[in-house]
C-alpha cells in the first residue's frame, strides 16, 4: 500500500516536471518559431542560441514589482492566477503517456489514474479554466480586462461545445471513454484516418478555447490592450501565461492520445523507440502546429469567430456523428 502511494507520487512529480519543462521551453519555442517565420533569429543572448532564455525570464518575473490596482478586489485578484494553473495540472492524471514498464519484476502502469471516464474528466476539468479568466477579468475593476474576460468566456464555452461534440465520433468507434482503451484501439490504424473531420474540428476548438491566434479576440492588442490580464503584472501575470501554455501542452497530449495513436510508433520498424518518447514527439508536433498557425494567419473578427462556431462547426460536428453512426452500422452489416 505504502509502495503504491510512493510510486504514484513519484509518477505525478515526474509528469509535473515534464510539463513544467515543456511549458518553459514552449515559451522559448514560440519566440524562436515566431522569429524564424518572420525571418529573424529570436532570442539569442542567454546561452547558446538563447537556450537559457526561459530561466532568465523566470528570474526577471520573480523580481518585478507587483502592481495591485487600488480599485481591485484584492482576494479575487490573488485567487484568479492561482486558479489558472489548476485545470491543466489536474488533467495530467489521465494522460496515457505509455503502456507499462517492468522494474525489478514489478509491472507499473505509466498512466497515473486508469479511470473509465477519462475523457469526461478531461472535458469537465478544462471547463474550469473559464473561472480563472472571468474572475481575473472582473477583479481588476477596469474596463479592458472586463471586456476581455466577457469575450473570452463566451468564446470559451462556445468552443467547449465543439470540443465535446467532436470527441463523440471517437467514443462511438471505440466504445469507451478510457484514454488507454482508445490508444490500444489505434494499434494498427490511427483514428485520424477514420475520423479526419473530428480531428480538424478538435484542433480548431482547442486553439479557439485557448484564446490563441487567429482566435485571440479576448486579448486583441489593437483594441483591448491585453485582454483579461491587462491589470496583472509580475508573477501573477506569469501564472496566467504558464496556465495558457500548460493548457496547450495538455490539449496537444489529449489530441495525441485520441487521434495520433498515443504511444504507438507510426511504422512498425520504428517501434524499438520507447512509447513515452513517441508520445512526447507527437505532442510536441501538435504544439508546434499551434505555434505555426499563430504566426501564419491574421486575426478573425468577433462576429466571424462566433459565426464560425455556431453556424459552421456545430452542424459539421453533428453530421460527423451521424456519418460515424452510419459507418459503424454498414461495417457491421446491420442494415
Amino acid at each position: 500500500m505504502v509502495e503504491i502511494v510512493i510510486v504514484t507520487i513519484v509518477k505525478l512529480l515526474i509528469y509535473f516536471g515534464i510539463m513544467l519543462l515543456f511549458v518553459a521551453y514552449g515559451t522559448l519555442a514560440e519566440r524562436k518559431v515566431a522569429g524564424h517565420i518572420q525571418d529573424r533569429l529570436g532570442p539569442y543572448h542567454c546561452g547558446p542560441h538563447g537556450i537559457l532564455q526561459p530561466l532568465a525570464d523566470g528570474i526577471k518575473l520573480f523580481f518585478k514589482e507587483d502592481i495591485v490596482a487600488s480599485a481591485s478586489d484584492k482576494f479575487v485578484y490573488f485567487l484568479a492566477p492561482a486558479l489558472a494553473v489548476v485545470p491543466p495540472v489536474l488533467v495530467l492524471a489521465v494522460i496515457p503517456i505509455g503502456d507499462s514498464i517492468t522494474i525489478g519484476g514489478k509491472t507499473i502502469p505509466l498512466a497515473v489514474a486508469d479511470v473509465n471516464i477519462a475523457l469526461l474528466y478531461f472535458l469537465g476539468v478544462t471547463s474550469l479554466t473559464v473561472y480563472a479568466i472571468m474572475l481575473g477579468g472582473w477583479a481588476g475593476n477596469s474596463k479592458y480586462p472586463l471586456l476581455g474576460g466577457l469575450r473570452s468566456a463566451a468564446q470559451f464555452i462556445s468552443y467547449e461545445l465543439i470540443l465535446g461534440l467532436s470527441i463523440i465520433g471517437v467514443v462511438m468507434l471505440v466504445g469507451s471513454f478510457n484514454l488507454i482503451d482508445i490508444v490500444r484501439y489505434q494499434k494498427d490504424m490511427w483514428l485520424v484516418i477514420k475520423q479526419p473531420v473530428a480531428f480538424i474540428t478538435y484542433m480548431i476548438a482547442a486553439i479557439a478555447e485557448l484564446n490563441r491566434a487567429p482566435f485571440d479576440l479576448p486579448e486583441a492588442e489593437s483594441e483591448l490592450v491585453g485582454g483579461y490580464h491587462t491589470e496583472y503584472s509580475s508573477m501573477k501575470f506569469a501564472l496566467f501565461f504558464l496556465g495558457e501554455y500548460a493548457n496547450m501542452v495538455v490539449s496537444s497530449a489529449i489530441a495525441t492520445a485520441l487521434f495520433l495513436g498515443g504511444w504507438y510508433a507510426p511504422v512498425h520498424w520504428l517501434s524499438f523507440i520507447p512509447g513515452p518518447i513517441w508520445f512526447l514527439i507527437k505532442t510536441f508536433a501538435l504544439f508546434f502546429f499551434m505555434l505555426w498557425i499563430r504566426w501564419t494567419y491574421p486575426r478573425l473578427r468577433y462576429d466571424q469567430l462566433m459565426g464560425m462556431c455556431w453556424r459552421f462547426l456545430m452542424p459539421v460536428t453533428l453530421l460527423n456523428i451521424l456519418g460515424t453512426g452510419l459507418f459503424v452500422i454498414l461495417k457491421n452489416g446491420g442494415l
Binding site: 500500500m1 503504491i4 504514484t8 507520487i9 509518477k11 509535473f16 520573480f62 523580481f63 514589482e65 507587483d66 502592481i67 490596482a69 487600488s70 480599485a71 490573488f78 492561482a82 494553473v85 489548476v86 495540472v89 495530467l92 492524471a93 489514474a113 479511470v115 469526461l120 481588476g140 475593476n141 477596469s142 474596463k143 479592458y144 463566451a154 464555452i157 462556445s158 467547449e160 461545445l161 465535446g164 461534440l165 463523440i168 465520433g169 467514443v171 466504445g175 469507451s176 471513454f177 490592450v225 508573477m235 501573477k236 506569469a238 501564472l239 462576429d303 462566433m306 455556431w310 453556424r311 456545430m314 453533428l318 456523428i321 451521424l322 453512426g325 452510419l326 459503424v328 457491421n332 442494415l335
Partner: protein, 121 residues
C-alpha cells in the same frame, strides 16, 4: 494490485500540488520583489488618462443569449455521451433514435438561427 487504491487519490494529490504551486510561487515572489507604490501607478489602466466612468459596465444581451444556447446544446451533448459509449451494442435502433433526437434539436437550432440569435451586429 495497483487498482487497490482509488484512481481518484492521484487527482486529489494533483489538486493539492497545483494549488500549492500557485500559492508558493506567489508567496516567494512577494518576498523577493520590490514595492514602491504611488497613486498614479495604482490607478486602473486606461491608456494613460484618469479613468472616466465606473468600470462595471452593463453586459450586452448577446452574451446572455450565447450562454442560454450553450446550456441547451451542452445538455444535448451530455445525452450523447452515454449513447456514444454504448453505440455498438444498440445497433440500428440506437442510430434511428439519435437521428430523431438530432432532427428535433435541429428544429430548435434553425428557429434560433432564423430569430437572429446567432448574429453579432
Amino acid at each position: 494490485m495497483y487498482q487497490s487504491i482509488s484512481p481518484y487519490i492521484p487527482v486529489l494529490i494533483l489538486l493539492v500540488l497545483a494549488l500549492a504551486f500557485g500559492v508558493v510561487t506567489l508567496m516567494v515572489a512577494w518576498l523577493v520583489r520590490p514595492s514602491k507604490p504611488y497613486d498614479e501607478k495604482l490607478s486602473p489602466y486606461e491608456c494613460g488618462i484618469n479613468p472616466l466612468m465606473p468600470a462595471k459596465i452593463r453586459v450586452p444581451i448577446r452574451f446572455f443569449v450565447i450562454i442560454l444556447l450553450f446550456l441547451l446544446f451542452d445538455v444535448e451533448a451530455v445525452f450523447m455521451y452515454p449513447w456514444a459509449a454504448m453505440y455498438k451494442k444498440l445497433g440500428i435502433w440506437g442510430f434511428v433514435e439519435m437521428f430523431l433526437f438530432i432532427v428535433i434539436l435541429l428544429v430548435g437550432y434553425i428557429y434560433a438561427w432564423a430569430k437572429g440569435a446567432l448574429e453579432w451586429e
